[in-house]
């Protein structure tokens, strides 16, 4: 073992400097932190440096540019790695039990299709988020004097994400993975004074930590099999051929649990909705758009194991588990999203659900890869999953930023309105405080009819929702279609997969419903509060990323045409496929809309029907409504609003019965998972811990103390023999004489 695959060592290219993609933001972390501490409150610092925002931005831009260069480089030369050096070296007694070998943990950069795709997503989104944050964070007074902390943690987070993507071994993947975990903890707990934020931060860290434990165990198992964690070693089919498939499946399964934690899948999903406690909506965006992808990335990295000839048919169980977990989460999260009133929570559950889609897609792809004869489909399925990751990241990023925009403006409107009130109101400060506390700027019940007031945001939201829902031709449509089709493809081969297959199909309809519901409740209908009526879209910086991402989402059709699906999963495909853009588009269209296989032909239209018509239709029936008189949205939104108003008026059913049903309550309670987990933690673990502490004090230490105490008693009773009377002393001595005499006589 230990032979490396034939991955060309790229020496003369830009790859050597790829490390700076990671290092730049990492080094910016202490700089921003200390400058911020130093100049806290300084006017120049606040105005010109945006409390660090304008230090972070160039860094992120540089990272992005470096990434782009790297991607271009990659397209030129293909998969490669750059070994920077050995991090640790140590002795290891090998299989023979005697010989000590030298083993190392290396450091390096590894670049292939998955890497560059994720690299683009991460660096691009991080840059946009940075721009957005400057608009969002620096205009909210609550953040004054602590934005430097935000930017510092933010750049560290980005460094973690980029590092994880670029790492050339599972070890460094894990290291950066944890680094991200730390930053997410810090960012969720950014408003440390809020108990809910503190709680959410802890919850996020702990839940992911549970997964991480298994990830570590998986990595350790993997290391013991391969003697290395470097991709170049573990992906080598020769090396894979030498290991036991059962053990490998167990190791990968362990690693998958780590991915489940990080990507908030059932049953470790509970942290994600609470993570919305972070600065609205930036940390949410981080969690939704980038960090959660880490788990997907990890599973995607397992592909070579499944594709290895020696493992054929051996790892299908794991593939099914991955798909099944995805299926369960997809439906569950979507269902919970039905009843959420909080704008960000809806998005959070939507994230969970969409990630589950990708997991299902990956599961299917892995199954296909692991099944002899299905390899060609595996590539497509894998590509579909990765493409969905891309689409979802872009769309969800946009959605979160848009929601942030909404919330931000709601806040401002509320603030302005109230400030206005103050002049004519004698109630003064008390009133202010009460009002401030009660008003929930994130609740959709307080919004409504914002489409006309926030055109850019509403548009972005619309496109994003459409992408997530999979409306034909927009963003996620291409990828979601692929995931569903490939899951069904597997289901036809393997009956077990009927379960995830049905789940994703059902999920498509549910997605259509809850995304539409969200958009309609927010942007359509009449403003539900006074605040919503006074919302304006006027914060600088915020529109830039929104507009950018809108175009990216819309243009994913081009990516589809460029055979992104194939390209992102297989190094055999060049970027612009041999077909060219036009041919590629035609190929894709044909493939999806006019599939030669009747089953998939029907499936496509079923998906379109339920996802684009049934789901949104129901949502319109329940939540649709026209704008306030005289208000008019942009041309591309007005018809939708009008349609929703019409559907709403004509709806033939009343949902109030099921809104109060047990199921609805259960969904609102997030299916009681949080409750159970909290109970388990508090009652069982904490209870046991307190018991243990008592045991430690009373029994273990108590033994020592008892010895100590009884020694005093024994001492007293011994000393009591010294009665004080000389007669007794003499008697004792006489007894001693007798004993001595007896002993000597007996021994003789």
């Amino acid at each position: 073992m230990g032979t490396t695959t034939d991955i060309p060592e790229i020496t003369s290219s830009f790859t050597e400097y790829a490390i700076f993609i990671v290092l730049l933001p990492m080094l910016a972390f202490p700089v921003i932190l200390f400058l911020g501490r130093l100049f806290n409150g300084n006017e120049t610092w606040v105005k010109s440096a945006k409390e660090g925002g304008l230090i972070a931005l160039p860094i992120m831009v540089a990272s992005f540019i470096l990434s782009l260069i790297l991607i271009v480089e990659f397209i030129g030369s293909g998969t490669g790695s750059h070994h920077i050096g050995d991090w640790l070296s140590f002795g290891w007694i090998g299989a023979d039990g005697m010989t000590i070998e030298e083993k190392v943990f290396g450091v390096g950069i590894y670049i292939d299709h998955v890497t560059v795709m994720l690299l683009f997503v991460a660096s691009f989104l991080c840059m946009l988020i940075n721009i957005f944050s400057i608009g969002y964070m620096n205009t909210d007074p609550i953040n004054d004097n602590r934005n430097h902390r935000f930017y510092a943690e933010f750049v560290l987070f980005c460094s973690g994400m980029l590092g994880m993507v670029l790492a050339d071994s599972f070890l460094w993947l894990f290291i950066f993975w944890e680094l991200m975990g730390l930053c997410s903890y810090l960012l969720i707990g950014f408003y440390y004074e809020r108990p809910s934020a503190a709680y959410a931060a802890k919850k996020a860290f702990l839940t992911t930590r549970v997964g991480d434990v298994f990830l570590v165990i998986g990595l350790v198992m993997l290391w013991n099999m391969f003697g290395s964690l470097d991709y170049s070693v573990v992906f080598n089919p020769d090396n894979i051929a030498a290991v036991d498939s059962g053990e490998l499946q167990m190791a990968l399964g362990m690693m998958f649990i780590g991915a489940v934690g990080k990507s908030a899948q059932f049953p470790l999903h509970v942290w994600l909705p609470d993570a919305m406690e972070g600065p609205t909506p930036v940390s949410a965006l981080i969690h939704a758009a980038t960090m959660v992808n880490a788990g997907l990335y990890l599973v995607a990295r397992m592909f070579p194991f499944f594709g290895a000839p020696s493992m054929a048919g051996e790892l299908v169980d794991l593939a099914f588990i991955i798909a099944a977990i995805g299926g369960i989460t997809a439906v569950m999260a979507a269902a919970i999203a039905f009843v959420q009133d909080d704008l960000k929570k809806v998005l959070a559950y939507s994230t969970m659900s969409q990630l589950a889609y990708i997991f299902t897609g990956l599961g299917a792809a892995l199954w296909l890869a692991n099944t002899p004869g299905m390899e060609e489909y595996a590539i497509i399925a894998f590509g579909a999953a990765l493409f969905h990751l891309f689409n979802h990241a872009m769309a969800k990023g946009m959605l979160f930023m848009a929601s942030g925009s909404v919330i931000h403006e709601m806040h401002h409107a509320h603030h302005d309105l109230h400030h206005h009130d103050d002049h004519g109101d004698d109630h003064g400060e008390d009133h202010h405080d009460d009002h401030h506390d009660e008003f929930d700027a994130q609740s959709m019940s307080n919004m409504g009819g914002l489409a006309s007031k926030m055109p850019i945001t509403a548009t972005a939201m619309l496109v994003g929702s459409a992408s997530i829902m999979g409306l034909p031709l927009i963003g996620g449509f291409w990828s979601k279609e692929g995931i569903i089709a490939n899951t069904w493809r597997v289901a036809r081969e393997e009956p077990l997969f009927w379960f995830p297959a049905f789940c994703v199909l059902l999920g498509a309809a549910m997605t259509g419903f809850y995304m539409s519901r969200m958009w309609l409740k927010t942007f359509a209908g009449k403003p539900k509060t006074e605040v919503a009526e006074n919302v304006h879209e006027n914060t600088p910086w915020i529109p830039i990323p929104l507009v950018t991402l809108t175009f990216v989402s819309l243009s994913s059709v081009i990516l589809a045409g460029m055979m992104f699906t194939h390209w992102s999963s297989d190094s055999g495909y060049a970027f612009f496929s041999d077909k060219g853009l036009a041919d590629g588009l035609i190929y894709e269209f044909e493939h999806i809309f006019l599939n030669s296989d009747a089953f998939f032909f029907v499936l496509t239209y079923v998906v379109i029907f339920i996802g684009a018509i049934v789901g949104p239709g129901l949502a319109m029936a329940l939540y649709g409504g026209a704008l306030k008189e005289g208000e008019k949205a942009k041309g591309w939104m007005q018809p939708i609003i009008n349609l929703s108003a019409r559907v709403n008026e004509k709806r033939g059913f009343d949902n109030s019965a099921w809104a109060d049903s047990g199921l609805s309550v259960a969904l609102k309670e997030r299916l009681y998972f949080d409750k159970w987990y909290d109970t388990a933690m508090l009652k069982l673990v904490a209870g046991f811990a307190v018991l243990s502490a008592t045991f430690d004090r009373k029994v273990i230490d108590g033994t020592i103390k008892t010895i100590e105490r009884s020694s005093q008693k024994i001492s007293l009773s011994v000393r009591k023999l010294t009665t004080g009377s000389a007669r007794d002393y003499i008697m004792m001595a006489a007894l001693g004489v007798l004993v001595i005499y007896a002993m000597l006589e007996v021994m003789i």
Binding site: S725, R727, D728, M731
Partner: protein, 100 residues
Amino acid sequence: MIDPAWVSVLSALLFTIGLWGAFTRKNAIVVLMCLELILNAANLQFVAAAIQHGDANGWVYAIFAIAIAASEVAIGLAIFLAMYGQHESISLDDVNLLKH
């Protein structure tokens, strides 16, 4: 002549009585007397042994022992007197201020 063995028996008897008396009697003076008994038991034995072994040293030992006994009594009485002065008692059981 008496068999020296009988002298030894007598001395053992004296020793036993002395030792027994030393821890059964409360009166310090009586204890002192018991002490003398033990010492005399030793003297007797010395003399008897000297006769038995035909060694003059035994006689010398006995004389020395008598001197020791005498000074012991002197010291003992002095100390008991001091004790009586403080405790108003020469009962060994009463003098038990120092204990444990």
